[in-house]
Structures are given as structure tokens and as C-alpha cells.
């Protein structure tokens, strides 16, 4: 089964980093949301 590069960002390592960054943004946004309406 051939492995292929991802269709964006060039390497899988960069794609994983992008997912981690999105997670951090989502958690930060959820934290802000909680504090703002507490």
C-alpha cells in the first residue's frame, strides 16, 4: 500500500503541527468563552 505526501503543507509532520495549533486555539477560545460569561 503506497504512502503519499499530504495534499497540503508538504509533509505529514507539518500537517500534525497544524492540527496541534488548531487544538490550542480551540482550547484557548473555549477558556476565553468560559471566563467571559462566567
Amino acid at each position: 500500500m503506497p504512502d503519499e505526501p499530504p495534499p497540503f503543507l508538504g509533509t505529514w509532520r507539518r500537517v500534525y503541527m497544524a492540527v496541534l495549533i488548531i487544538l490550542c486555539i480551540v482550547i484557548a477560545a473555549a477558556y476565553w468563552f468560559t471566563r467571559a460569561f462566567q
Binding site: D3, P6, W12, V15, L23, I27, A30, F33, F37
Partner: protein
């Protein structure tokens, strides 16, 4: 249900099933029936994974969870992206290159047959119970709407699901999931817009958010650490990472999804799509529950959301004072909420503080009246530990949403439940045939024979799921129950795969003993502590790995590999 609702519901269900069967035609070999001939694109897998995980429980129970406990539950999904990255970089390429049907086949290649069999049996027990809960959720829908007993509706749903699953293979299931996720997204947006539109004219969307926040319903992140607190950021990031590593790395119902991909890259993209989309989707669903809570600040909800039990206790004399207390408390809370909004608009901090106290005092009165009503249910022959969390959203939908939208929401719940259940039953049948039947009963038979065996196994697991569906009502919130059941078994499976991937010296016997020790540790934590279920996976995994490593290094002679033990099927 009005005629328009029935038209929308029946049209949606029939089109989803027909579309799935159309796309799933030609599943006439074992490879096509169980793995879709390894031909699926990333978006179909990604949406199918979301649909299988979401199911009807997501709609019914998550919104109710948010109504009673706020949005904290979203933290249970924070570990999912982390788990996806680990799975994509380790397990996905390994399973692909091994050309396996089930995750447990790999364990025999790495360890021995008894480890594979133990892992398979653990999966069959755990997923079999979950399949029961998945069927129970839509049964609640029918019982609320039609007033039928849950047992009857479980049987009806089970029959439909079994028929559909036996006829279509995984290809049919996957493509119907794609269509269902479209309907689900539409249903989510329509639900939120409708609940906001139904608020009183004097309450804006911003006011609704303000009130939900003051009632503690927008508490998405809790940073306080507590072992016994089910949902906080620590149990979410650490505990749920282990849960999702187990779920996506060791649970055949998910592994089978990404094994259908046409390449490793397609499977990775499907999983990463899930990693990015799942937390916002869960947040959105919980937010709908919080808005339903605000809606009911202005429109009096029933004392209990389960109509059948409410009708029963309404005939009891002791109910009348409870209902009166509830109505008074509701009116106090409504007045306090309106006054709180006014104080907020006037930026009067002192008045705001005073109104918040009144508002919370009234909320306590309401909670007290509901608790008394629940006790009344129990004391008059109802079920012990009565909980109506799973009925809250459905009660709102059927009482307040306009014709047509009710049918759409019910169609979403039905479709998601059927899809999730059929996926589970399909994976249970796969493990039964590949890991048990083909391994121990008929090692050499034709493809046609194994295809027939797969269909019979599907039928068996469908009946099993229907039988265990009765468990659902004794487990409180369904969404939590599904995860609790999973967590009782996932830790050991995860530990087994961690050993397989990261510790080359560890052999089958050490792993086997480690798994038994892991299960013992998890059940001890479950039975004798109040610990959050998210930690069971961590405990199970650590105990399995520690026990196997101790045996390997302290008694190496006892676990030497015997000739033939590592042969594959």
C-alpha cells in the same frame, strides 16, 4: 408528530437507506463486504467515523447533559486531536502494511494467538454492550413521541438495523453515513436558529448567552484538578487522549473504517478531518443544550421531561404540592432572569449581584422540586435512580419546534442511530468471523462461505444488541454510559497495543498476564472508587505495560516464545 413531520421523517429515512444500499451494491466478497475493497476516499471515511461516534446519543444525551450540567463535557474531547496524530503516525501505516482485516490479527503476528483471542473477546464484550446502548437511544425517541414502551421500540429499531446491516456491507454503511452527516449538520443549525428565534422578543442572543453563563451553563473549561470530577481540562487532555487512542487504535468499529481507505494518506486525512471538526461540533451541540436551558427560563418546562412517568405521578396526591412549588419557583426564576437582564443592560453591578442571588435561589427551588418528583417516581414503583436527562432535548423538540423541523430532527436521530448501530454490528461480525471463526472453527473455506458466515454473525450480534438495549435506562446519561462502558475495557487493549508497538522484547504471555492485571485494576477502580471514568484508560494502560515489563525483565525464562506461537492466520 404532524403529517408534515411524518412525511419528512419517512422520506429522509427511506432515501438514506436506499442511497446506502445503492452505493453499497456489489459487496459480494468478504473483502468488499468487510473492507469495501479498500476503495474509500478520505471524506467518506472522515464523515463515517464522525457519524459512527456521534450516533443518536449525541443529540439526545449531550444536549440534556448541557442543560443540567453546562458545557463541561466538551473537555472530554480535547484529547481527540492528540490521539489522532499518534494514530496517524503509528498505527495507520502499520495496519495497512500488514494487510489485515482486524486490529487483533496484528496481535497474533506480534505476540501469539491467545493475546489476539483475549483482545478480540474484550472487544466483543465491550462493543456488544455499547451496541445495545446505541439501539436504546432511538427507542427513547419513539417512546416519547408515540407513547410506545421502550422495549417495543427497541425491538422495532433492532429489526430494521439488522435487516439493513445484513443486506449492505461496510460500503453501504459508510456512504449512508456521509448523507446522514449532511442531514445532521443541517439539523444542528436549524435547532440552534429555532431555539434562539423562540426566545422572548425582549431577550437578545447576547442576553441569552449572559443568562446561560450566569446559570453556569457555559462552563466549557474547568482548570481545577480533581480525580473525582468527571470533566476538567486535565482529565480531558490526559484521560481522554488515552480513551481516544484506545478507541481509534484498538476498537475494530473505528479501525475497520480507516482500513477501508484507498491509501494510507486517505485514511490519515479522514482521521485528521475528525480531529479538527469533532471538538467544534461537540461544542456546538452542547451550546444548543445551554440555549434550550435559557429558553426554559421563560417558558415553563414540565416538572419531569419523561412524559409517561410524569403522567403516572400526576395521579398521586403527593405530586400536587411539588407541582405548586415548581410553578412558584419557575415564576420567581423568570422574574429574576428578566430583572437580571435589565440590570445588565443598565450596567448596575449591585442590582446585578442581587438579581443573581434571587435567580440562583429560585433555581435551587426548581432543582429541589424536580428531585422530589424523581423520588416520587421511585417511591411509586418507577425505576431506581430515575433520570430524565435523555428526554430534555426531545421534549423541547416535540413541544416547541414547528411542523417539518420536528420530522427533520427525529430523522437525524434515527439515521444516526441506525448508522452507528449498523457499523458496530458490522465490526462485531468481522471480529467474530476473522478472529474467532476463521481462526479456530473453519481455517480453510471458500470466500463465499466466509461471506455467509459474516452475514450470520451480523444477525447474531444484532439480536445480542437488542437484548442488551434494556440496560440503557439504568445507566443515567447515555452519552456518559457509552463512554463508561468503553473505558472499562479500552485501557487494557491500549496497553496491549503500546507493548506491541513500543517494546520489542515483550512477548505474548507477559502481555496476556498484563491485560488480565489491567482489567482487574480497572474494575477495582470502577467498583471501589469514585474516580472519573476518563482515568480508567490511563490506569489500565499503565498496569498492562508495567506488569508485562516486570514479567519480561524479572522472569524472562517464563515468557520465552514457543515455536509456532507467532504464526499468523
Amino acid at each position: 408528530m404532524r403529517p408534515l413531520d411524518w412525511i419528512v421523517l419517512i422520506t429522509s429515512l427511506v432515501s438514506i437507506v436506499l442511497y446506502g444500499l445503492y452505493r453499497g451494491r456489489g459487496s459480494n466478497t468478504v473483502d468488499r463486504y468487510l473492507l469495501a475493497g479498500r476503495s474509500m476516499p478520505w471524506y467518506a471515511m472522515g464523515l463515517s467515523i464522525m457519524a459512527t461516534q456521534a450516533s443518536a446519543v449525541t443529540f439526545i444525551s449531550t444536549t440534556g447533559q448541557s442543560y443540567v450540567d453546562g458545557m463541561r463535557f466538551v473537555q472530554a474531547y480535547f484529547g481527540l486531536p492528540l490521539a489522532m496524530i499518534v494514530i496517524c503516525s503509528t498505527v495507520v501505516p502499520l495496519f495497512y502494511k500488514a494487510k489485515i482485516y482486524t486490529a487483533y490479527e496484528y496481535l497474533e503476528r506480534r505476540f501469539d494467538s491467545k493475546t489476539r483471542t483475549l483482545a478480540s473477546v474484550i472487544f466483543l464484550c465491550q462493543r456488544g454492550l455499547s451496541a445495545g446502548l446505541t439501539l436504546y437511544a432511538p427507542a427513547i425517541v419513539l417512546s416519547v413521541i408515540l407513547g410506545w414502551p421502550e422495549r417495543t421500540t427497541t425491538m422495532l429499531m433492532g429489526t430494521l438495523v439488522i435487516t439493513y446491516t445484513v443486506l449492505g456491507g461496510i460500503k453501504a454503511v459508510t456512504w449512508s453515513d456521509v448523507q446522514q452527516m449532511g442531514v445532521i449538520f443541517l439539523g444542528l443549525v436549524v435547532s440552534l436558529v429555532t431555539v434562539v428565534v423562540l426566545m422572548p422578543a425582549s431577550v437578545s442572543f447576547g442576553d441569552a448567552m449572559f443568562l446561560a453563563g450566569k446559570a453556569g451553563r457555559l462552563n466549557a473549561v474547568t482548570t481545577h484538578f480533581d480525580w473525582n470530577d468527571r470533566f476538567n481540562i486535565w482529565s480531558g487532555l490526559i484521560g481522554s487522549t488515552f480513551l481516544f487512542l484506545s478507541y481509534f487504535g484498538c476498537d475494530q468499529s473505528q479501525v475497520q473504517r480507516y482500513l477501508t481507505g484507498r491509501s494510507i494518506a486517505q485514511s490519515r486525512l479522514g482521521l485528521l478531518f475528525n480531529a479538527v471538526a469533532k471538538v467544534p461540533m461537540q461544542f456546538f451541540i452542547l451550546f444548543i443544550g445551554a440555549m434550550v436551558f435559557v429558553f426554559y427560563l421563560f417558558v415553563q418546562p414540565p416538572v419531569l421531561f419523561q412524559r409517561a412517568e410524569l403522567s403516572r405521578i400526576e395521579r398521586v396526591g403527593a405530586f400536587q404540592p411539588v407541582a405548586e412549588q415548581y410553578s412558584r419557583a419557575f415564576e420567581d426564576r423568570r422574574q429574576a432572569a428578566l430583572a437580571l437582564v435589565e440590570a445588565h443592560h443598565a450596567r448596575d453591578a449591585a442590582a446585578e449581584e442581587s438579581r443573581i442571588r434571587e435567580y440562583r435561589a429560585a433555581q435551587k427551588q426548581i432543582d429541589g422540586a424536580r428531585a422530589q418528583a424523581a423520588k416520587l417516581v421511585e417511591s411509586t414503583g418507577g425505576e431506581k435512580g430515575f433520570s430524565d436527562t435523555n428526554y430534555i432535548f426531545l421534549s423541547f423538540v416535540t413541544r416547541h419546534l414547528p411542523a417539518g423541523i420536528v420530522g427533520l430532527i427525529i430523522a437525524v436521530i434515527f439515521a444516526a442511530a441506525m448508522s452507528a448501530s449498523s457499523g458496530e454490528i458490522n465490526s462485531l461480525a468481522t471480529v467474530t468471523v476473522v478472529d474467532i471463526y476463521r481462526r479456530y472453527v473453519r481455517r480453510e473455506a471458500s470466500d463465499r462461505h466466509y461471506l455467509a458466515a459474516s452475514r450470520w454473525a451480523t444477525l447474531f450480534w444484532g439480536v445480542y444488541a437488542v437484548t442488551f438495549a434494556g440496560w440503557g435506562k439504568r445507566l443515567g446519561s447515555l452519552i456518559v454510559a457509552v463512554n463508561v462502558v468503553g473505558s472499562l475495557f479500552y485501557g487494557s487493549l491500549l496497553g496491549c497495543f503500546v507493548l506491541a508497538l513500543a517494546f520489542r522484547r515483550v512477548r505474548g504471555t507477559a502481555t496476556f498476564i498484563g491485560m488480565l492485571a489491567g482489567e482487574a485494576a480497572i474494575f477495582s477502580a470502577f467498583l471501589f472508587t469514585g474516580m472519573s471514568y476518563l482515568w480508567y484508560n490511563v490506569i489500565g494502560c499503565v498496569v498492562v505495560v508495567a506488569t508485562a515489563l516486570a514479567i519480561t525483565y524479572l522472569a524472562p525464562g517464563a515468557t520465552a516464545t514457543t515455536p509456532g506461537m507467532r504464526q499468523s492466520v
